[in-house]
Symmetry: C2
Subunit: 209 residues, 2 copies
């Protein structure tokens, strides 16, 4: 099994050096062009021209255009998982893990704005892929929250979705405004972590206790 190659339906993993080289060039070109022009404005012949191959070569390694997409999504998924695991590797408490984990995600979003295109765009391309992605993410997140304790609420699955929402939308904000590392860190310390420990709103003044 070649290194770095992810096995996905619709993908043919090459068996020779020549094949590996060509496939890697096609993947790199796809990623670059998708990021610049978007998935649907990028044609197969664009990708092949950029990669220096014939159109037929593309179809040796990918059954359809959508399959390159799936492959890239699988790559991002793996990269996010790895980065998150690395970022919280030395943390003891859930508090620290959230601090490092959310920060890590936001930084990743800023440096790889294409993640949103790929992952959220998958809704229109292969709905099941999108659902699987977030359900599996939520499940591990929820399990981790339960395991670590420190969470004040019993419905950890809903909490997992809330935390994913917070990460994803702060990533969006950071991407829109081009926040740098220092700004992200300030936001984490001054706003995000206080919100996670103390909440956002004062109690409803009018409600009975």
């Amino acid at each position: 099994m070649p290194d770095k190659m992810i096995r996905v339906k619709g993908i043919n993993i090459p068996k020779t050096e020549l094949g590996k080289t060509k496939m890697e060039k096609l993947l790199a070109s796809s990623e670059e062009l998708f990021a610049n022009k978007g998935f649907y404005s990028t044609s197969i012949s664009d990708i092949c021209k950029h990669a220096g191959t014939a159109v037929g070569t593309f179809y040796i390694y990918f059954d359809t255009k959508t399959d390159v997409y799936k492959y890239l999504m699988e790559t991002y998924k793996k990269e996010i998982k790895d980065r998150l695991a690395a970022s919280i590797g030395n943390c003891q408490t859930r508090y620290e893990k959230e601090y490092e984990g959310i920060k890590c995600f936001i930084k990743y979003a800023v440096s790889t704005p294409n993640v949103y295109n790929i992952i959220w765009g998958s809704l229109s391309i292969d709905r099941q892929m999108f659902v699987d992605y977030y359900e599996s993410f939520a499940e591990s997140y929820s399990r981790a929250l339960e395991h670590d304790g420190e969470v004040t609420l019993s419905d950890t699955e809903s909490v997992a979705y809330m935390l994913m929402g917070i990460s994803n939308f702060l990533g969006l904000k950071a991407m829109f405004t081009g926040m740098n590392e220092e700004q992200i860190d300030n936001m984490m310390k001054q706003t995000v972590m206080p919100a996670l420990t103390n909440g956002i709103l004062k109690y409803d003044i009018t409600r009975e206790e």
Copy 2:
């Protein structure tokens, strides 16, 4: 100006009854087919066949296929705004507004799962449209938070993004699992509102005060 017609670049609003009927059929067909087959698997001829018009008719009202998409997105945007405004119309406090507003959004997401396809899918179709959508939403949200007070944190823009993230991802969860109104309400009362007023995590035990 015909009622219910939204003015968007790339759209030709019809001037006769016949025209209005045809355009409405084209819009309804587009919405239904996009929801079932996705934007890119739906061809113009599919839409026209379903609507009972010729292909040329489509191009009288819409300059391009993307323009129908923009029109639908504008429709959802308006509908979300209207529903939110209606749902928080009688609320006095920010606490109540968040309770009603988030619940309203989740219910809308469950009953209209196509919103995510359309709004998040716009990232791959017209990035600026996506950015404008969330930036303008965040701006009004942030202004409202500031105006109402009751928010414990000074960076209301980040708070707005966090709240949008919470709504959107809980909507996702509700959509995935097909939650009913009662389940949504329980989640709001037992998990979401406590999280907003008290937070999610216990303080970091290890950090210095």
